[in-house]
Symmetry: C2
Subunit: 441 residues, 2 copies
């Protein structure tokens, strides 16, 4: 008999849902964590013999899942939650959001919005996000300060903003930010060209070259609305997908966000070329952007990821609510009650989103060797009893407030609902100041 | 200057949303309650001068709304939450639900399921429901014991069940239950013929006569699926709506549940004849029943109510989640981003549902003279800040766990998230015993 192995943390859970193998529920299992990594997944009884943990978490009524991954956010816009609801996309963007952004855009707005968002994400079991906004330097510093895993978007758009004035400046700044973050354990970068209708072929070509050279994902709003397609046919004589394919961007690095307009040929091409599609079902409904055929995409073998989009169009960063909407609306769209079943939706919100971000080797499932990004969901509330099928319960009944504990890279961020690393009183005061500034300007 | 008036309760809220007038948000208002009724709604400062309350609730970060009304539930099925997910309606009903029900149906199952549901409803801001199940005597006793407002359904179906063996027995028992409840302050009854495909013309005719005579609502699953329509055309030579209209049941007493299949003429007729339609959007998506054109209905002047349906097809009794789904999916179905705006959806979940149940004089809005059925929602959480539009925040961002306090007929049921009237440990143990019995039978 060998002596027990010392590890930093042993999490003993009523259920462990590793996501890989698909649909598996491990009863009364433990996850051993050392430093930032998962070192074992095994029955609790066996774990107690094999490991001597420095800290033990006993989660007797909980399901332990991989931390959720939000594959598309504009988190500074958490400060604009509910600023413009029940209006069409064009009014929303041009009359409400852009003017408000113009008034407040800058490093402080980005920092404060992201801090509010990080607090919300952690409390909701989300441990990683794919950020898409201006000031990626501030984004990175903010996520890093809170030990939150993220890819920050290196924005490219063909008009001047508070972040950069010219195409060259966008690229120069992008490369500088990327350089600064080269060896960061938690923070990565991605190119984030805004959309086909706001980015030129020339910029897309530069992005193509650089993303190949630096092995960086390209995080792009694509085929968000029908209008985007018709405008592109008018202006470029082809659909946006064809246009960026011609430039060489349709490959395994492409994170294609929205994709509400898709031909069967385009879906097949996404499958063949390893494109990931990020489904943002609540935002798409709220702004009436269209609906992404998520089940069809999934069945075609395309990697399906989930995102909430920004808080101005959702109005939350709640991936539990999003999973439920994906499963329910997915059935309506696919005309199939078995479409987007609970296990497949949970997979999309974890492994699928991680893979979209190029991080499926690192996070997205509970597997030995992966980073210990974990969330525990307490299921003994009235609202989630009785339990027949744990994965179903997570998707169809649990609320994000039932997330009790969260770890990122082995570091506890939420302990029995208490959030570490934040002065919440100060954060709320700051948030209210932004509100007054945004609402009255 | 007159002496202050003594009242039982003064609720001072950051915002009061009375629902009537539509869309109104009253800043820093108070609601004065005496016995079971609302006696005044006025600015806090003025309320402090005018009233001497026996109890004061200071809700400095809360929106006070009318208690939500769930216009269609099968609450004993709370014990079957998540028993059968991601399967088509026919498999769900015939292979999963009916066999499980056959094993457990009886007064204890009804009582225990409803107790679980009442706890869930109160914790989620719901103060009234329209029950549709067997054993209405047990239903009534259970709701009354917990001081929860409900109409219990008097079931009629053309086959024997544990409740009744013959048509005459269904009617005899229905009338006996109705008689027992005649003067109950909180509990009423409604006829609950199961559906056109399980109830004969003869029974519908008896219901027509009796509902007129006793002035009782008729709570009926109607046009739930396309299959129901085609079967009716085959068997009766007409659509179910036409069939029950011929019998005389299409009138202001009809609570038509689901209505996923509707012609423009049927919608117009519902408007003219004062029919209420109960929209159950999450259940309809989950079981792929179809989709109810809720915005079209509303614009045609039909009273729109909301329900969650039973926990086996939702899988919760969360009217906050349901409101969000109604607003989001409603935009998709109506092809209009302004459809089912937040204020209209909140109205459907309160006034609309109350009116469907024949109780719009009594509940559904915060107005002087109405019953004090109230729910307070705390909005100072990270997840619901900042606040630009209170009603929007309730529908698009708030979770039901943010409900802090609930009153029914002036009696406090939830106090700062603590639920009165329940031994939750015992309730959960009982729930788990049912689970074991249902899962393994």
């Amino acid at each position: 008999m060998t002596a027990p192995q010392t590890v930093d943390l042993l999490i003993e859970a009523r259920w462990v849902i590793p996501v890989e193998p698909h649909g598996t529920v491990l009863d009364a299992h433990a996850v051993a964590v050392d430093d930032d990594r998962i070192v074992a997944i095994l029955p609790i009884a066996e774990a107690r013999r094999r490991f001597e943990p420095r800290e033990r978490a006993e989660l007797t009524e909980h399901a332990l899942i991989p931390g959720l991954v939000n594959a598309h956010v504009h988190n500074p816009m958490a400060l604009m939650r509910g600023l413009a609801d029940d209006v069409p996309f064009a009014v929303w963007l041009q009359e409400r959001i852009w003017p408000a952004e113009a008034r407040v855009m800058g490093p402080e707005f980005v920092r404060d919005g992201i801090e509010l968002a990080i607090a919300e994400m952690i409390r909701g079991g989300t441990t990683c996000c794919n950020e898409n906004y201006f000031f990626p330097d501030v984004q990175a510093a903010t996520y890093r300060r809170h030990g939150f895993r993220a890819r920050v978007g290196l924005p490219v758009i063909e008009f001047p903003t508070a972040w950069a004035r010219s195409r060259d400046e966008y690229f120069d700044k992008a490369l500088a930010v990327h350089d600064d973050l080269r060896d960061d354990a938690l923070i990565g970068t991605a190119f984030a060209p805004h959309a086909p209708y706001t980015v030129s072929d020339e910029s897309f070509e530069r992005i193509h070259l650089l993303s190949d050279q630096l092995d960086l994902p390209v995080h792009l709003h694509l085929h968000e609305t029908a209008g985007e397609i018709s405008d592109s046919l008018r202006d470029h004589g082809m659909r946006p997908f064809a246009r960026i394919k011609q430039i060489g961007l349709v490959n395994e690095r492409l994170i294609a966000v929205h994709m509400t307009q898709l031909t069967d040929a385009e879906i097949a091409e996404c499958a063949t070329r390893g494109v990931s599609i990020v489904h943002n079902v609540e935002s798409n409904m709220k702004l009436l952007s269209g609906f992404c055929p998520a089940e069809k995409i999934r069945r075609a073998g395309v990697n399906l990821a989930l995102g909430t989009d920004g808080c101005a169009s959702n109005n939350d960063l709640d991936l539990f609510g999003e999973m439920r909407s994906v499963a329910l609306v997915g059935k309506l769209i696919a005309n199939d009650a078995a479409a987007l079943d609970a296990a497949s939706v949970l997979r999309a919100a974890t492994y699928g989103s991680a893979r979209a971000m190029g991080w499926s080797e690192r996070i997205g499932t509970i597997e030995v060797g992966k980073q210990a990004d974990l969330a525990a969901v307490r299921l003994d509330a009235i609202e989630t009893q009785p339990v027949y099928n744990v994965i179903s319960q997570l998707v169809y009944a649990a609320g994000r407030h039932q997330v009790s504990d969260v770890w990122i890279a082995g570091v506890r961020k939420l302990r029995d609902r208490v959030l570490g690393g934040f002065d919440l009183v100060e954060l709320l005061e700051r948030t209210r100041r932004w509100r007054d500034r945004i609402a009255t300007a």
